[in-house]
Subunit: 394 residues, 2 copies
Amino acid sequence: MPRFATSLTSLRSSEIRDLMKLATQPGIISFAGGMPDNTLFPIDEVKEIINTLTPQQQQAAFQYGPTPGLPSLLDSLSQHLESKGLPVSTNRLMITTGSQQAIALLARAFIDPGDRVLVENPCFIGAISAFNANQAQLTSIDLDNEGIHIDQLEKETQRPNKAKFLYLTPYFHNPRGILYSAERKQQVARTLAGTDIVLIEDDAYGDLYFYEEDKPRLTPIKAANPSGLDICYTGSFSKILGPGLRLGWLLLPESIYQRCELIKQSLDACSPSFTQVIADQFIRRGMLQPYIERIRHEYRRRAETMSDLLQSTLPPDVQWNRPRGGFYIWLTLPQHIDASAVLKRTIDQGAVFVIGKTFDPKGTQHNTLRLSYCNTNQEQIKKGITIIANAIKK
Amino acid sequence: MPRFATSLTSLRSSEIRDLMKLATQPGIISFAGGMPDNTLFPIDEVKEIINTLTPQQQQAAFQYGPTPGLPSLLDSLSQHLESKGLPVSTNRLMITTGSQQAIALLARAFIDPGDRVLVENPCFIGAISAFNANQAQLTSIDLDNEGIHIDQLEKETQRPNKAKFLYLTPYFHNPRGILYSAERKQQVARTLAGTDIVLIEDDAYGDLYFYEEDKPRLTPIKAANPSGLDICYTGSFSKILGPGLRLGWLLLPESIYQRCELIKQSLDACSPSFTQVIADQFIRRGMLQPYIERIRHEYRRRAETMSDLLQSTLPPDVQWNRPRGGFYIWLTLPQHIDASAVLKRTIDQGAVFVIGKTFDPKGTQHNTLRLSYCNTNQEQIKKGITIIANAIKK
């Protein structure tokens, strides 16, 4: 028997894998995965890009690139991020192998075994996994419809066993679906300022807003550049181009950037040049914004279909919000209903979702669940939601 | 100041980065990098693949894939590996984000801080970096022209503070250039059997042999499937398709595979589907073998040009071997010559290489250096080697 490192016991064995398997089972209506719809990818645009690259760009696509990313992509992406008000020129930008790697780099940079980190409850499962892989001790803070509970956050920042960082996904939260209010974000920044607790701001879904009036609420905390606070901002091409390209990014203060670059060297040397060249051209040729417009519109239609159906079919004691962007709707069932029992019933009838416990760092929630509307068409949504609503009623 | 994890002090700050910068400086003749030549990539073949994918393949390229790799690539790669005699059916195959990630996964799976691991001296710098990132204590064992010193290895396996694994690159070693003899490989397997020390066999360059008569020596240790020994075999598409695709692989016993899959989930969720689809088609359409033939021939020409020039220009007290495959020639200068002093001189005259100290886990070698012939044409080789030979003579 190989003598493994003893320090990996906290990795929960199979949840993400099971989730993936469930989500891709043929013939089943899946509200489980967080994957974009296969039929919505910009396949023709990317083919056009590949067929019209210069010889230099073609060669760069096959070759190793610098660890922090291809200079041309760093440049084009910088302009995209500057348009969101982000302080690109006073920070350093790094391309990562998906935003999962961005989170894994930060986890490795900050966490010694046993270190405390603050997360939302519920929390993105990829982040939980990255923090557990570094043997963090997770302290989770509840969410309401405006964001994280500030009183709980204040209490946590004052403990002597000081947390290393707070991990937030304020824009169409995965799995909770919410968009933070501007005020709540200011309160977060004020609460953390001067505490030496770093803020990780995960913005993988912000571009997928459905309503123009929400635009002011989408300004990153990082854009305000609050004093006395180090903010690590991360984003991804997964939802605005394709997860199969495995490209995300980190916008970081210099000292944190230096540390993450060293760790990235040891992990995969560099992110795929091939897909970096594609992403760079996708931005430079003006294809990104029209594509985002297109999928934003389509996801909004799906979200509205699902919301309308939930409204007309769910019992009134089930709590949920109409989404304003992103991929997810979060249901809170009455206390006496067990989401796993509901799931068992819906699997038999051909529809799946993810139970809330999966996203709960404490692992205790039993009456919540996440529905994704991103990877199902109108017809599947109608059929699948009927199955789920009936199962809940039983 | 952010409070970083204290456990990263052993990451040597900037060597790989400096190496990369040196190797890509414009106008300079670089024997420094381990990068394939930009002009040799199979650009037309890959363009043809992309333009003739089925809609299903196109969609898979943009989408998330399973953490261990796309099933179709696992299948086609299995056939390629079976043709080398590897025991694919009794082990598990996993796609990694370059073979750098393969090594990083194994490092994380086995190393607790302070654990001893055995490496060759000199050793691939990416491996040193991955082991240091996990706070390993490196014990390095000398190489001769046939492989690792067995007497030193025996001594090391008998120490009470038992090493977790031995990391070897027996096929056209980076940086040493050598090909292990069949006998030495058997001795390695016999020495490790029953010790609980895992063997990591890195075979990134084995396909690039120059002489048919060497084929028997290229059979992996893993292919013999020796009893009482766990072997983790790793390879890469970087040298036989393109490093910019960031694809490598691991062939592993079941229990080690399970562990690595969990770690990979937390690091980047999956490797790029986009380039996995390309690599799969590159194998399935029969393009891989002809392409390897082509570059094997070209690298042999370059190796022979460089060897002939070294033979005619170097002083007789410089030791080196004519390469029989791979990318590298290793020079051992007389004791009184300092390779860094030679490098300073050649940089001024427009040629660079990597000093041996970079690959020395102990960091003490001063009179060795690595020349790569992979990324320079005939003319550059002639000009550059003249510069280097003159600098050594001074």
